[in-house]
Symmetry: C2
Subunit: 373 residues, 2 copies
Amino acid sequence: MLLVEPKNFQLQEPLELDCGRVLKQVNIRYETAGTLAPDKSNAILIEHALSGDAHVCGRHAESDPKPGWWDEVIGPGKYIDTDKYFVICSNVIGGCSGSTGPRSVDPDTGNPYNMDFPVITIRDMVRAQKRLIDHLGINKLLSVIGGSMGGMQAMEWAINYPESVDCIIPIATTSQLTSQNIAFDWVGREAIQGDPNWNKGNYSADHIPQKGLATARMLAHITYLSDESMSRKFGRELQDADSYRFAFNRDFAVESYLEYQGRRFVERFDANSYCYITRATDYFDLASRCGGDLAKAFEPVKSAFLVVSFSSDWLFPTEESIKIVRALLKNRVNVTFCEIESSYGHDAFLLEVETLGTMIRDFLRNRQKVSND
Amino acid sequence: MLLVEPKNFQLQEPLELDCGRVLKQVNIRYETAGTLAPDKSNAILIEHALSGDAHVCGRHAESDPKPGWWDEVIGPGKYIDTDKYFVICSNVIGGCSGSTGPRSVDPDTGNPYNMDFPVITIRDMVRAQKRLIDHLGINKLLSVIGGSMGGMQAMEWAINYPESVDCIIPIATTSQLTSQNIAFDWVGREAIQGDPNWNKGNYSADHIPQKGLATARMLAHITYLSDESMSRKFGRELQDADSYRFAFNRDFAVESYLEYQGRRFVERFDANSYCYITRATDYFDLASRCGGDLAKAFEPVKSAFLVVSFSSDWLFPTEESIKIVRALLKNRVNVTFCEIESSYGHDAFLLEVETLGTMIRDFLRNRQKVSND
């Protein structure tokens, strides 16, 4: 059994942010698995998605019932083999799973930041990670890998620290959020901020905006699934009934499922963090830094790329990945691209374990060969 | 100028509902335009969608700034020509624009029903309409026409009153809500019912669940547009700014637009009605009455059909219309089908006026010819 433990790293220097503000004290929660090679050439940074955390693989204790979120992919002998690679995963800043975020204490006031926390960007998240990687003494990562928001971070690595990564694997992601993506995020935050407990973000730990956060999560959850996968999984099935109850309360199985997802989410996620992290993704737009020219944005890139999309992902559809691939090719970047046929929608990046895992494993092997040549 | 006036019809007998309950007193608000022919062969019933009402065309007064919701299509000399046809449109029961709904007074208690109002179905809406049509002395409607939820009602007419309609025009609709459709409705109602003012539906007129209803509307609104039309209309444009504000409040134009849509909606729509009407659509499933066999559900049909879908509608996509067409064809129903190429998404049924209007006009003309032969 792979045992891992949460670690903390306090940034030595303040962190300057895209918004112009500075975070004086920053903690990064991270975990590692595997052993760093003496030449430090086998380090892989995994980037988590919106609601993920640093606990990417293994268990915290023998008795721990729940492994990390990508444990099917990462571990001894698995696709990302911790017998070969040194895997690092850190919780993003702005998050609520150990790294500094809106619920952390503002050293200037002694109170939680809440909505006084600065609005952060995906690049800010990566800036903080770079400090961690420096701290670990790693000059060059073998790879940065991530799905969804994790893929956005991976691309920021390639652009901002081109000498520091050999290869990048952005999965089920996009170079910019569309109008529709931004709109869904907006509605989610409206649900949170309309909750009677929200109190402009200054809620107490025992009166959290539970209902609002659950509603935001349920909405987002729909966008992670495909129409087809929902139809296959739930269809119009009723929950413990043979005929309509003519009532509003969870008549359909899909309603019951969503309610369960919402309820579970509020147990582990913070409402203010949800607002900050979705906002960071809204602001994500690589091309905008170069007058809308995505190819120009990728000019600094020196890493090789494996870009993966899923056929039924309607949140970040394949066309978005193709835009990325085209822009990389204009810069003569070494790019491999694959659209995986899947009915799981956006969530496929967590579910198509075998196809995706095999692809990542082989790509990493080839990169290692190249590096060793 | 076409002037119309709201009329009221009180059902003479109680209305039995699908849920087994009975509405003792039912008012139907309706409007008419044009003149009923002496042989009463020129009557067309228009069915409104979720948030529509009886005011389908013309104006209530010379000074009235806002015409009915389908005024571009219906009126003297227009596609549905009120110089030729007698057009009727009634507000659905369960609604909040004059017909009996959850905010009406329960004759048994003297108080508003609110959430004690029975859960109604699309078929119940049509049952009430049939009484109105009988009251108007019309044996056979020339046509029943409706988009979205209006199309569901139109199909119920064809199935339940096959002798009473010559032709049916269901537009941008479906024979059953999918799991994803039900899920979006659920999240919208969760937003309403999470509003601090909701009070289990017993809100007072000056403390309505404004924020929750606005959130539900904003969410639904996203599903009415296509990704493409949103990108074209808003893209990632900022609202009155050149660069990010690093704030949460309406930074993007699309956010500002949605907020405006939400705000406008709460001025004219009731939160409880929103719950009841979305629930009626959730329950809509023609095939389920015949063990999942849609063709069997259409067996009673005697009317001709013109079925119209829109290429970018992802709420009720073209495949749903094709299912309807196939099931009708199995019953040798006279069906015409057209998918209109449009980027407007579901809303196209209100926006593609010329293409859709022309199609309806010509179809009606042909039907009249057939009837006169």
